[in-house]
């Protein structure tokens, strides 16, 4: 049992939960994730460890409510419990130890980029973050990333920061030169766009993949992705891979396996059980195509 000790709303559909998980808080590294099962009968879903406080023994989960399981998680309140949390899973982020890194975060992916930026900054790497959202209220982790280095904010509608996609800002920074590595996390189309952008510059680009997972231990093979023509299990071989080698089409495609099922589950949610204050019938915003 893991008690929720704090909760905050970061954007209209992104919620941060600080949850007791002492062991994980002490040993986790940037890039690692946990598998969470809210309670009996619930799905096992992967969530990145966005931050941790080893003194309090808590980890931060930053959750975008996209479907039934994530909606139910963000409906929990401080004092409530999450039954199962296993981890930390996956490999820690591959870090450079000097030089300059560009960290690109889109939507909830910004929460995944944050611990990477934290780790890099601690190692003495200069971090420049490029983060994006639909409009001002969708931008998250600006303040936290601001403590680690320069931040460029982009919004689709220009309501905050610069107008346009993160790729535009990233291109300018690449053109200015001096970027040793790029870390990019966000919706699949964004990661694909960033990987395509950096390829001609020959800058190593690391992306964090988010396929559907079940066990998170390499037992089911459901999380398989294609990297450089070879099948890899994202939960144990990743979740981070060389963005220039990832088959993003396959990833986007496999993420759609249960779309019909999910729509039904969300409908059931809308029919009356929804406890997170989404208006009935409102479509949750997905961060995948």
């Amino acid at each position: 049992m893991h008690t929720i000790v704090a909760k905050s709303q970061l954007s209209p559909n992104v919620t941060r939960l600080d949850v007791e998980a002492r062991r994980i808080s002490e040993i986790r590294h940037p890039g690692q994730f946990v598998i969470v099962r809210r309670g009996d009968g619930a799905e096992r879903i992967p969530l990145t460890i966005a931050d941790a406080d080893p003194e309090k023994g808590t980890i931060a989960l930053v959750i975008q409510a996209v479907g039934k399981s994530t909606r139910e998680l963000v409906a929990l309140e401080p004092g409530d419990f999450i039954k199962d949390i296993s981890g930390p899973l996956g490999h820690p982020t591959e870090m450079i130890t000097s030089g300059r890194a560009m960290c690109v975060g889109g939507g909830v992916g910004t929460a995944v980029v944050h611990p990477m930026a934290q780790g890099l900054q601690r190692l003495g790497v200069e971090v420049i973050s490029v983060i994006g959202g639909r409009s001002k209220e969708w931008v998250i982790f600006e303040e936290e990333l601001g403590k680690l280095g320069k931040v460029v904010v982009c919004t689709d509608d220009g309501s905050y920061g610069r107008k346009g996609f993160v790729t535009d800002a990233a291109r300018e920074i690449l053109d200015a030169g001096g970027v040793d590595v790029v870390y990019a996390v966000g919706p699949v189309p964004m990661m694909r766009a960033i990987a395509n952008l950096t390829r001609p510059y020959g800058v190593h680009t690391i992306v964090s993949l988010n396929p559907v997972m079940v066990d998170g231990t390499g037992m089911c093979g459901g999380c398989r992705v294609d990297v450089g023509g070879a099948t890899r299990f994202a939960c144990v071989d990743g979740p981070e891979f060389d963005g220039h080698l990832v088959d993003f089409d396959l990833l986007a495609d496999r993420l759609g396996t249960y779309r019909e099922f999910e729509e039904k589950a969300v409908h059931a949610c809308d029919a009356g059980n929804c406890r997170i204050g989404l208006e009935h019938g409102q479509k949750p915003t997905s961060h995948t195509p």
């Binding site: 062991r23 009968g41 899973l89």
Partner: protein, 472 residues
């Protein structure tokens, strides 16, 4: 035991009793257990068929040497409490092995009654006694010896780990099981379906261990949450029983299309995550024409699951014939009765997908059987120009599993064989003193009873080793 009360020649006249089972058409639409179990009357008849051999061959076939004639004779005498105590003394999980052991190649194949007829139904009787004991609480109890103060960590809550835990607890040690998933049981809960092994049986066994004092920590992945060297610091000995849970794929084109599952994923979604239930949170595709590649127990479980999830055609795709299938014979018969199609002597070449990258077929070629190879099995050879497309909308790959490297990769001192399985000496000790291993992580995908046998043997070896190295 004294001379049997019922004369031999009367015993020889009794025919093997049939297992009552759910009607085939009915059961193909539900997940309830297929076999219903012997009544007391049937069990008595069947137990009388045992002629109480002086040198019971059957015991030789059982990997844990269950004293079969002894518990059978207690049944004949109507003394079920003694039958239960006798059986549980040899085998910690008889309600499970009675249901899933491949008896036809273990105990029953050796039974002398099988020479001129049918062997005694040892498995069914084992199940009968175990179920009787489950219904009569307190018949069999686990009483630990006085505490030794020694702490032992067990990695993995499958049959090997659970058996070792029970045995070591009896010897007075303090036991903690670390299980990666949210529920212990290993393949018994995530792989073998409800219709063959009701989950409640496994839960009861786990409950019994917990009540007796075994600590079980779920959601702990050794190699990630704790490393093996960390366990060695806090425990006096470690038993590794993390199984062989790495799915093998065919490495053919199209294997990542939507609708291609490993058997592990398919079965885990349905069993552990209960996706068969209406309204379950975890989804599973309910496909119409499911091709299951393989011929072992895992393939049978997957194909019968597909049928129960509503497939119009649930097919086994196997490169040899029915005769060579490694699955338990009973499962093959049950599958046939439930309307599973057996597409034998064919081998997949490529998964075909539609424009949306959903599985739409399996390109296969026909095979013929050649000369027997070194293992005595006739090896399949492709027939030239025999390619065709098998119409299907889902593919489940059930061609085997290997050792999962998650744990072993974090401990380079642990000696592995070329397949990644942990090497042990005859006592089950690995290349690191104090670390023992057993079950599928040592043997590769094997059987429940072999895993349990390893758990039992290793428990004894761990106890001996602790005594030798640290005294008591």
């Amino acid at each position: 035991m004294s001379e049997p009360k019922i004369p031999l020649k009367d015993r020889m006249k009794i025919d093997r009793q049939m297992m009552p089972e759910q009607d085939a058409t009915q059961r193909a639409g539900n997940f309830l257990e297929v076999n219903l179990g012997f009544t007391e009357q049937i069990a008595l008849m069947e137990a009388q068929r045992c002629i109480q051999c002086k040198e019971p061959k059957c015991m030789q076939g059982c990997p844990v040497m269950v004293n079969i004639p002894r518990f059978l004779e207690f049944i004949v005498e109507g003394d079920l409490p003694s039958a239960a105590r006798s059986l549980f003394g040899d085998n910690a999980l008889p309600a499970i092995t009675g249901r899933v052991c491949p008896q036809e190649v273990q105990c029953e194949v050796q039974c002398v009654r099988g020479v001129k007829g049918k062997p005694v139904a040892i498995g069914y009787l084992e199940r009968f006694v175990a179920d009787w004991a489950r219904a009569h609480e307190g018949t069999v109890t686990l009483t630990p010896r006085p505490p030794t103060g020694k702490k032992i960590a067990i990695v993995g809550g499958g049959p090997a780990g659970l058996t070792a835990a029970g045995e070591l607890l009896k010897l007075g040690h303090e036991i903690t099981i670390y299980e990666a998933l949210h529920k212990p049981g290993g393949v018994l809960v995530y792989g073998i379906p409800e219709f063959r092994l009701p989950k409640q049986i496994v839960e009861e066994e786990v409950e019994r261990l917990i009540e007796a004092g075994v600590k079980i920590e779920n959601n702990v992945v050794i190699g990630r949450t704790y490393t093996l060297p960390e366990l060695m610091e806090s425990f006096d000995a470690v038993f590794l029983a993390n199984g062989a849970g790495l799915p093998v794929f065919m490495n053919i084109r199209g294997e990542n299309y939507k609708g291609v599952y490993s058997a592990n994923e398919y079965l885990t979604r349905v069993n552990l995550m209960e996706a068969y239930a209406e309204g379950a949170d975890t989804p599973v595709l309910r496909s119409k024409r499911v091709a299951v590649v393989g011929g072992g127990n895992v393939a049978m479980d997957a194909v019968r699951t597909a049928k129960r999830l509503g497939a119009e055609r649930a097919m086994i795709v196997y490169r040899r014939t029915l005769a060579e299938m490694p699955a338990r014979i009973e499962e093959v018969h049950h599958a046939l009765a439930e309307g599973v199609d057996f597409e034998t002597l064919i081998a997949p070449l490529e998964v075909i997908g539609d424009e949306k990258k959903w599985v739409s077929g399996l390109r296969c070629e026909r095979m013929e059987l050649g000369e027997p190879d070194a293992s005595g099995r006739r090896s399949p050879k492709p027939i030239p120009n025999s390619e065709f497309i098998l119409d299907c909308d889902a593919v489940v790959v059930a061609i085997g599993t290997r050792a999962n490297p998650l744990l072993t990769a974090t401990c380079p001192d642990l000696k592995l064989n070329k397949w990644g399985n942990i090497e042990t000496d005859e006592n089950g000790m690995t290349s690191i003193p104090g670390i023992f291993a057993g079950g599928d992580i040592v043997r590769g995908a094997a059987t429940v009873i072999l895993a349990m046998g390893d758990g039992k043997r290793s428990a004894k070896a761990i106890d001996d080793w602790l005594m030798k190295t640290t005294g008591r």
